[in-house]
Amino acid sequence: MDLEANRSLIAAALTRIAAGDRAALQTVYRLTSAKLFGVALRILGERGEAEDALQEVYVTVWRKAADFDAGRASPMTWLIAIARNKAIDRLRASRRSRRAEPIEAASDLSDDAPGAESALASTQDHTRLHGCLRELAAREQAALRGAFFDGNTYEELAERMKVPLGTMKSWIRRAMIKLKACLER
């Protein structure tokens, strides 16, 4: 599904949700739920949990649609942030982490390549982000991936990569500063 092409359609539907239009919520659901379910499932690792998270996501969209500002954020960014936060909240509440196996910093990062099946993958922002991620040290990339895709905390990442907590914090913080500088170049 070409989500970027649907950007204005999603933004307009969010406007109508703010007016209490349930059909508009269904439009947003139809256009975005497969992506957001994928995001929740990736973080939670279990279908039942991901389904519950997805339900919370769209109830939140219904309640907060008026907060969406088309001038500041793209609708997909806004929706993905809600989905990640709901999934992470559920993960934290369950006091467990699905992905706990050790991460080898020097491991093959070739699976980092854009997925050809995703329409979003062809966007300029996606290409630029990957370009900047490639400028980071392998261990920094690995830590950011564990956080973004597996929903790991600092503690979990430190454990998975077998480094002290303080070291993990400075890796991530330094990586985020470098990432921001690169994206703003």
Binding site: R16, E51, L54, K64, Y154
Partner: protein, 236 residues
């Protein structure tokens, strides 16, 4: 060099700390009390919330690497069952300004009630429509449409003027594509002529919405600023 940087061009320390906290929250590495505290700060500190949004924007393209997965059909049913009656219902209950405007509206409604009953029974085609363009009580415009004259009159029932931006009116037909109608005023009612091409869309499937735009209106022909209110067209 801006105020936010020191003589080396590096961010000042507290700003850097905020920026890093925003990055950590958006990335999702915080847990427990730290995550809760960051979440509360997003809700009450606009500048911090903007930093988090900027990080969301930077990181979101990464989600393209996650494969789409059709959600099972029962999820939509569960969502519909869990929906509150209307968005932002909680804030409506707390909003004094809305209650005041409701009290005024109720008085006006009582006065014209009998007239409406008679009117509905004999409603001709091209009958007037109205929309209560409500942004959860904080902003509220009332629009009345006269399809035969192709005009919409919009009165600000409750609107706190934005110093930098102007309210712009949009018609959103069933297809969801907004059409600019014109700029509104904070201090008085405005009557706008509706383009002939949009007249067929004046029905119950359409919504009127107001967004905040740069002076002169949206430069793109689509809403660029926040939507501060929306309401469906209904019979007057």
């Amino acid at each position: 060099m801006s105020d936010a940087t020191d003589h080396n061009g590096l961010p000042r320390e507290n700003l850097l700390e905020d920026e890093l906290l925003a990055a950590e929250y958006a990335l999702g590495v915080l847990a427990g009390a730290e995550r809760d505290a960051a979440e509360r700060r997003v809700a009450r500190d606009g500048a911090f919330a903007r930093m988090v949004e900027a990080w969301d924007e930077r990181l979101a393209p990464w989600a393209a690497d996650i494969e789409e997965m059709p959600a099972p059909p029962q999820v939509w049913g569960a969502i519909v069952e869990a929906l509150p009656l209307a968005p932002q219902r909680a804030s409506l209950w707390e909003n004094l300004a809305l209650w005041r405007s409701l009290a005024v509206a109720a008085g006006a409604l009582a006065a014209c009630c009998i007239g409406v009953i008679v009117y509905l029974a004999v409603q001709p085609p091209g009958a007037p429509l109205m929309a209560s363009i409500d942004g959860g009580g904080r902003h509220h415009f009332v629009a009345t449409i006269d399809p035969r004259r192709a005009t919409v009159a919009v009165a600000p029932a409750n609107y706190s003027a934005d110093p930098a931006r102007v309210p712009e009116l949009w018609l959103i037909p069933a297809d969801g594509k907004p059409h600019a109608l014109g700029l509104l005023r904070a201090d008085q009612s405005v009557t706008i002529t509706i383009p002939a091409a949009l007249l067929p869309h004046l029905n119950h499937a359409a919504t009127l919405a107001v967004s905040l735009e740069p002076p002169g209106g949206s430069p793109t022909g689509a809403p660029t600023g926040p939507v501060i209110g929306a309401g469906k067209l209904t019979n007057l």
